[in-house]
């Protein structure tokens, strides 16, 4: 089979061998769980429980507060202790529901009941997905039911499952494909029920031969589902690049995947869809990779949302040595952390700890115009020119060199021999331009 790919991209050290062959371990949380009300893009959810209430596992504790918003479910049974602001992964503060775990894990009635989705209408399936609080678990956290409700559902001909997991060190999607492959394929079947003209494609990078083999075996009797091998390269798992790799179609920043007839979902998202629709279970768990050279036992954990990172880290044996850098997510697009006492949310994919911060190893020097950023840019931009405009705070020039097409993948900073922090500057400029647009 021909391997799909795109132009540009980089090959960072993968580091996946640290955790890829270790089965996922189910982790039970400690005493206190924290549920930030903002775990997705869009309006924060509104708490629908009060302090002192007893809640059951799977119970809705916060409800959607607008169109682009989803509810949040409790992942344990226990008592609502407080509703107060908490620190989240991004470093911002947002309201959160604190629940004291009673260690009973009493489910709400009906949790886990098998459901025959072939008897459900399309609208019922979408409503279930919305009520289950499912969001894009690749990191962005865009409510999934909106993705599954395009303007013209007949125009969708590809349902792409993003199993490329191109971020270094991350192995949670890989483990899920191996361990819960049936659920994944069933999730695709459910999505396909919403799109009559579509075929399902599970895209997997060629550095995961076991997953390719396993999933191919599972879909060999499916008419509408196939596996597409894509080349191992960062950022193969970026939505725009993946669509190009699978279908050959290209979209820009102002278009949605639906404009190219595609709906792209992450592996864990699709499994969550299966859990919600076929097993009546809202999104309340997350598979998290704990890895990096500072971690004693790098591995993958099946974690209840709301669990603190510190507990997950402890389960992995803690630090060998105090790390210089902690990252939530992958090394290319993850967020730097300054504390481990923050909760795992729907979009958490990994906790990485490194003894040395590689960003400090290269001193920042002048640009030598070597063009490596140009070669690496998957968006076919000239990061060097964008950077020049960004340094002059020249927003007009920044936009003139298509700066707003940048998706902040980090490839340009990764390759820059002069140690310049291109992506970081471009990010800042893009934010300020977007803010200025909003004000208008």
């Amino acid at each position: 089979m021909k391997k799909g790919t795109f132009k540009g991209g980089v090959h960072p050290y993968e580091g996946k061998e640290l955790s890829m062959d270790k089965p996922t371990v189910k982790l039970l949380p400690g005493k206190e769980l924290i549920y930030p009300v903002s775990q997705h893009i869009g309006a924060p959810a509104k708490p629908c429980v009060a302090v002192g209430d007893h809640v059951l596992m799977g119970q809705k504790i916060a409800e959607a507060s607008g169109f682009v918003s989803v509810p949040i479910a409790a992942s344990v049974s226990g008592t609502v202790k407080e509703i107060k602001p908490t620190l989240t992964v991004s470093g911002s503060i947002c309201d959160a529901i604190y629940i004291e775990n009673d260690n009973e894990y009493t489910p709400v009635p009906g949790l886990g009941d098998k459901r025959d989705y072939t008897k459900l209408s399309k609208q019922e399936i979408r409503d279930i997905i919305k009520e289950a609080g499912i969001v894009g678990m690749g990191g962005a956290g865009f409510p999934t039911f909106i993705k599954l409700t395009p303007k013209d559902e007949n125009a969708i001909d590809y349902i792409i499952v993003n199993g490329s997991e191109c971020e270094p060190y991350l192995t949670s999607d890989y483990r899920m494909m191996l361990e819960e492959g049936e659920k994944l394929v069933d999730g695709v079947r459910i999505i396909l029920r919403l799109f009559d003209n579509a075929q399902g494609v599970i895209a997997i990078e060629d550095n995961k031969p076991k997953a390719i083999e396993h999933i191919s075996e599972l879909v060999k009797n499916e008419d509408r589902i196939s596996v597409q091998v894509v080349r191992t390269k960062y950022p193969e798992g970026s939505e725009r690049q993946l669509i190009k790799a699978v279908t050959g179609r290209k979209i820009n920043s102002s278009m949605l995947p639906a404009d190219a007839g595609c709906v792209v979902n992450n592996v864990d998202t699709v499994i969550s869809i299966h859990m919600a629709v076929a097993e009546t279970t809202p999104l309340m768990r997350r598979v998290v990779t704990v890895s990096g050279d500072a971690v004693v036992n790098p591995q993958n954990f099946n974690v209840k949302t709301g669990t603190k990172y510190s507990e997950v880290l402890e389960a992995a044996g803690g630090f060998k040595e105090k790390p210089e850098k902690l990252i939530s997510g992958g090394t290319m697009m993850g967020l730097g952390l300054f504390d481990v006492n923050i909760p795992v949310t729907k979009t958490s994919s990994a906790l990485l700890a490194f003894i040395k911060d590689p960003m400090l190893l290269v001193p920042e020097g002048p640009c030598i115009r070597c063009g490596r950023c140009v070669e690496a840019c998957p968006e076919n931009l000239i990061p060097q020119m964008m950077m020049e405009a960004a340094e002059r705070f020249d927003d007009a020039s920044f936009e003139a060199v298509s700066g707003m097409e940048c998706m902040e993948c980090g490839s340009c900073t990764f390759v820059c021999p002069a140690g310049r922090k291109l992506t970081q500057s471009l990010k800042q400029t893009r934010r300020s331009i977007l803010d200025a647009r909003k004000k208008k």
């Binding site: 960003m359 002048p366 030598i368 140009v374 298509s402």
Partner: protein, 339 residues
Amino acid sequence: MRELYNVSASPHVRSGVTTRSIMRDVAIALAPASIVGVYQFGFAAFLVLLTSIASAMAAEFLWKRFVVKKKTPYECSALVTGLLLGMNLPASVPLWIPVVGSAFAIIVVKEMFGGLGQNFMNPALGARCFLLICFAGRMTAFGVEKASSHFMTGAASIDGLSSATPLAVIKNLEATQNICSEVSLSDMFFGFTGGVIGETSALAILVGAAYLLMKKIISIRIPAAYILTFAVFVYIFGGYAFTSDGFYYLACELCGGGLMLGAWFMATDYVTSPITKGGQIVFGILLGLLTGIIRVCGNSAEGVSYAIIFCNLLVPFIEKFTMPRAFGVVKKKKGGAAK
């Protein structure tokens, strides 16, 4: 050990390639041609190279110390500039020539315009052209006397070399003379001819270029466009088109003079070549045409240096007209991305 974690925006990893490692690789790639140069022209050539490198590094150090006064990471770029300049000088020059040239390259061409990354002209070639204009006689003294001791004067002094380089010989060929008998292509390919220290051996330069390509330090776009365009141009307009000597002449033009060194090591200079991929091809084509025009129509047999520094000046314009279209953007919209 730090008490706090480093918090920074993504990405959090680097490729490991640094400006210094690139400069080191370029220096390694220049080694074969330098070694052949020293073999051919002797210890004198070695002294010229050494003086050139040392004075380039000294000029940079002094400028940084007394004018810039800021600590900057050391990139070894002066080493490459010095080495390239030395390779562009005849072995017979007095040693004050590389000193003057290096100082000019580093201070006037590079540092005065803002230092590394800001110069608009290749420093080594800028200096070479400056020296050619000021000291034309010394800069074109390629002749090597026949000598009994070859330590200072190298292999070239075994038989002696005429002051005319093979390209000059071809240029001034009488109607009765035959190109194949007047110049030896194999000597030109292996580097046993007269010329500046680093340009004589096409083979050694190609070895270095292959190293750079393999290490992905340079892309093949500029040299390929340059050499192909030049080849087509001189084949057609060189005066031997479709004759039996056409290809012999073409091969001599390709191996002779500064073309190989220029195409692989000077035109590909990051700072002074276009950063857009399309621009690099346009740049190469322009270089090929210009070099061809100068060699065929000009007074001098050589044209590479002038062609390159002239095209260096066009780089901003070339970039402007070769901006790529962003991924997925179908028509060029004014003001970049749509809202």
